[in-house]
Symmetry: D2
Subunit: 148 residues, 4 copies
Amino acid sequence: VRETCQTYGLSEGEFGELLARVTAAKATAYCPYSKFRVGAVLLTRGGIFVSGANVENASYPVTTCAERVAFAKAITDGHRGFRAVAVATDISPPASPCGMCRQCIREFCDLETPIIMFDGDSNFSVMRLEELLPLSFGPEALGVQSQA
Amino acid sequence: VRETCQTYGLSEGEFGELLARVTAAKATAYCPYSKFRVGAVLLTRGGIFVSGANVENASYPVTTCAERVAFAKAITDGHRGFRAVAVATDISPPASPCGMCRQCIREFCDLETPIIMFDGDSNFSVMRLEELLPLSFGPEALGVQSQA
Amino acid sequence: VRETCQTYGLSEGEFGELLARVTAAKATAYCPYSKFRVGAVLLTRGGIFVSGANVENASYPVTTCAERVAFAKAITDGHRGFRAVAVATDISPPASPCGMCRQCIREFCDLETPIIMFDGDSNFSVMRLEELLPLSFGPEALGVQSQA
Amino acid sequence: VRETCQTYGLSEGEFGELLARVTAAKATAYCPYSKFRVGAVLLTRGGIFVSGANVENASYPVTTCAERVAFAKAITDGHRGFRAVAVATDISPPASPCGMCRQCIREFCDLETPIIMFDGDSNFSVMRLEELLPLSFGPEALGVQSQA
Ligand SMILES: [Zn+2]
Ligand SMILES: [Zn+2]
Ligand SMILES: [Zn+2]
Ligand SMILES: [Zn+2]
């Protein structure tokens, strides 16, 4: 953990807070269809933590994943700029954000932003956005300035 | 307004609060692609107001509409049971929720739930969910109990 | 059937063709997650039938419903103008298109377009688009001319 | 081109066909909102080419991207197993598939599958699925066997 924190510019307290909150967030999922709980937490540049979890729907494509719930909250609460994204599921090895969520992260985060993925036992792996979504398509392609 | 409140079981104070909050919510939209701002506010059975606005993405289908943002917040905050949904845009006549959002509302609300649609000048129309999404497809079709 | 055909401007041969094709389409679904097969068929103004079925994804929101698959095919094949939409599932009473699909139909069809919903035993009900998606949001709200 | 074909197991004829068809596919896009045309073509293991283009909607999240249109066609036509995915836009450098589409490709393709991205002048770059969507989330996480 110490090394991870140094590499990605987080304090150990922040890392612990991300783990505690993402675990709690997972319990707020509404997933009667997949029964696959996902929690997500964002750490803003201002030091605020914003949580989300998956919210499914009988019409599967109407589902919103945990990461997109967290960004929806953060963005409409006025936050811009994020230092880290944490995601947690109950499986091992840790699940990564789906491609749709990587695209959502891309809209609002630097390519260097660390994405910390926890499994059900608090083991984790970390990748930067650029590593999870290389050669990405973003706002610039449509003439819109990035929010990162 | 008085008659609307009586018909749909809202107090005039609650109606005023919905209008004030949905107007404020509209200003939190992130919509550089459509430039079409939408605000949404839910009133829970417990008397809590939960706001949302549209959060767009360079990949258009990754966009989350205002109504779904509000439900994502409310559901992951533990709220169940909603007395009203308010939506506001800048056009006239008032815009209605898109079909995708009607489906989201269906997952979490009674068919009698009023959906109040405001235009840019606070004029409004109201329809119940059942009127906006008749003969709807919902959780029961997949053997899941409704959350309404 | 005869009465339905008269009301909605279809020949009995066309109706039979819709039923046969939508039943066949259902068998082409890729739905290992929901195990809920849906078929859809469109009848174009030019008399062409275009079929689709649901194509699901491990990330549930990446799923494309049967109706949207059929429209995606038809539109990219150059078809414009549709006389009927048929949908079939294995449950009874017949399932209706989800809200997201009603929105897709709205982009490309007249409000009078009949939507024929078959259950697993070829029983059916019919509603016009305007009945399934009243007071709808469409292209005009964004200054785009309808394709209907 | 020759080297690309050798690396990714395509004949030069197949490569030329992919370019010709993806350019033609781009012209079938329905994109009055973004005005950003995208074409996609798949080459199946059986040697069949399947085309798609983006089909947008007034409700932006109801949009289906070109890649997902092509897979929806191919899968419901019974195809399984793909040797290459080609994508074309009008911008330079070539645009890559959005994250949502990478997730769709993941459901149906080997991680080694080449994704060929053309700009408006037929310049291109190529990446394997594993390079565009590393450490991906897929069917196995939900106990479903991959279709690749
Ligand atoms: Zn996701
Ligand atoms: Zn919507
Ligand atoms: Zn649908
Ligand atoms: Zn895409």
